[in-house]
């Protein structure tokens, strides 16, 4: 399993989750976990996803998600899960 953490941060707007999830579905990226909060009008979402089945490489997805973020007015980042795992798990 190629776990990738996708974070979305920015001003809340209608359809942010829909856009990201549609992209994921269209590229065979499975969403394993999702959590979201809104604090003071600020949207904060984290998804744990699985990139195993997608045909696109990491760089392409990285840039396409970045592009969606720009269009929606949020910052979308994807990072391989290991960095969080290594920092917070023994």
């Amino acid at each position: 399993m190629k776990k990738v953490v996708v974070t979305v941060v920015g001003k809340d707007a209608i359809g942010i989750i829909a856009k990201v999830c549609t992209y994921m579905a269209g590229n065979k990226i499975n969403i394993l976990d999702i959590s979201q909060t809104i604090t003071g009008g600020f949207f904060n979402m984290m998804m744990v996803t699985d990139f195993t089945l997608t045909e696109k490489d990491f760089d392409t997805i990285f840039h396409e998600l970045e592009q969606i973020g720009e269009e929606t007015g949020v910052i979308i980042k994807c990072q391989r899960e290991e960095i969080f795992d290594r920092m917070h798990r023994l």
Binding site: V5, T7, L32, D33, S35, T37, N44, M46, V48, F58, D59, F62, K77, C78, Q79, R80, E81, E82, I83, F84, D85, R86, M87, H88
Partner: protein, 454 residues
């Protein structure tokens, strides 16, 4: 599974506290390039470096992107050139030609520095070593990426005072050769005692003779992360403070180990070590001095500074060592002046002087680093400062180093501007009394009695 809080915490460290991997450094042995014909030697050097490191920069960038952490520098360290050039170089100009070849290889691979224009002269100098030493000022003034280091002492061998004496002149000559750029050539030149073979940080990086053909060493950093962490335990006792630093160093180092293994796998080059360092930059919030202030000092240099730094250095090592499979290099807190905004402020406030910095180097990871001194400082005084620092390293069995910049045409109260990662530095006064007769004695200072442990 990873939770929301952990992801936010990590990204906060990266985005707001300057957490990064400071360098991926590929060490490359040049022994198989040795040739008695200088042109052939230079061709072999360029070919070997450019073939082994051709993907170093792109791989570093890929890894940085995938993990979402900046990998600031990609560098190369090679076998000390005085060993590689001995058969081919008959003059100092021959060595400068090798420096050109190294510069060419660095430019072709896209790295930001290449270390190893070096000589290991802790006990004595060969003719080749001396030729290289005398060519350093020209080599550093005509190249952009080459860094030079000279190992002039060790706990086992003592201090080579002939080399120390000569290096006073070499530092001054390098300053003069780059006088129009505030003597920045000296920022690429360091004199070391007990130099590690696997240091990934420039200017002292070279690929030691005990190393394999090629290795990947990674230097981690993160002073901003440590500072933020200890801000949360303000007023607590020392054991809480220590635990907080250790935990943070552990987290930072785990990232370094992850990146090191990934780089090693992708480049097909064995992993060497992780260097657990707190390496500051001139960026606000990326400062070791700020950590010392957060611990409770008004400025670095205040009474208590050496104790605070000793504790910080030790906790960084204790936290980091468990997080990495192999630790090496310099490992600890760096205390450069020009590369740390908080240190610059301490000097400008009158809190920190050269003598206190010297005391601090007994407990930090390296030594007197990136310190601007008046351009008219006598060569012998520079040699004397180097000798003092070598003595601290020799007696205490630790790495020490001197990277001084006598800024030609400027004096105390003025400021040297180096730009970029090298920052700027207020020019600090040097003790004006002479050590000429002492440093001009020939020979070496013998190894201390406690070095005989066999």
């Amino acid at each position: 599974m990873i939770n929301f809080h952990e992801v936010i915490e990590t990204n906060k460290m990266i985005e707001h506290e300057n957490l990064d991997v400071r360098t991926i450094t590929m060490g490359i042995s040049l022994f198989d390039c040795i040739d008695s014909d200088l042109n052939t030697l230079c061709d072999k050097i360029v070919n070997k470096i450019t073939s082994l490191a051709k993907n170093l920069v792109s791989t570093g960038e890929e890894i940085g992107r995938e993990f979402g952490i900046p990998i600031v520098n990609k560098r190369i360290a090679v076998t000390p050139i005085s060993l590689i050039g001995a058969a081919a170089c008959k003059t100092g100009s021959d060595y400068v030609k090798i420096a050109w070849a190294l510069d060419d290889a660095a430019r072709k691979t896209g790295v930001n520095f290449i270390g190893g224009f070096s000589a290991l002269v802790a006990k004595g100098m060969t003719r080749s070593d001396e030729l290289l030493l005398r060519s350093i000022s020209e080599a550093l003034s005509v190249t952009d990426y080459v860094c030079s280091s000279v190992v002039a002492g060790s706990t086992k061998t003592g201090i080579n005072m002939d080399a120390v004496h000569l290096m006073g002149k070499v530092v001054k000559d390098t300053a003069k050769a780059t006088a129009e750029r505030d003597s920045v050539g000296c920022a690429k030149l360091v004199v070391l005692c007990n130099a590690p073979d696997d240091n990934p940080f420039v200017a002292g990086a070279f690929h030691g003779v005990t190393e394999a053909d090629a290795i990947i060493n990674v230097g981690v950093s993160g002073p901003g992360v440590v500072k933020t962490a200890i801000k949360g335990v303000r007023g607590e006792d020392f054991s809480t403070l220590c635990e907080t630093i250790k935990k943070t160093a552990f987290q930072v180092t785990r990232v370094g180990q992850l990146v090191a293994l990934e780089a090693s796998r992708r480049l097909g080059v064995p992993f060497g070590i992780v260097d657990l360092s707190l390496a500051p930059t001139p960026a606000v919030g990326d400062s070791v001095a700020d950590i010392l202030r957060e611990m409770g000092l008004e400025h670095p240099g205040a009474p208590g500074t050496t104790a605070a730094l000793a504790m910080l250095n030790d906790q960084v090592k204790k936290g980091g060592v468990m997080a990495a499979s192999s630790v090496g290099g310099l490992s600890g807190a760096f205390i450069p002046v020009s590369e740390d905004q908080g240190m610059i402020e301490a000097v400008e406030a009158g809190a920190l002087n050269l003598e206190k910095l010297e005391a601090m180097t007994t407990v930090c990871s390296v030594g007197l680093d990136m310190i601007a001194i008046p351009g008219d400082t006598p060569e012998v005084s520079i040699s004397g400062i180097i000798a003092d620092e070598m003595a601290l390293g020799m007696v205490n069995g630790k790495t020490t180093a001197v990277r001084l910049i006598p800024v030609i045409g400027k004096g105390v109260g003025e400021r040297a501007e180096f730009g970029g990662l090298l920052g700027y530095a207020p020019i600090m006064p040097v003790n004006r009394f002479s050590c000429a007769e002492f440093v001009s004695r020939r020979g070496r200072i013998p190894a201390p009695i406690h070095s005989f442990r066999n």
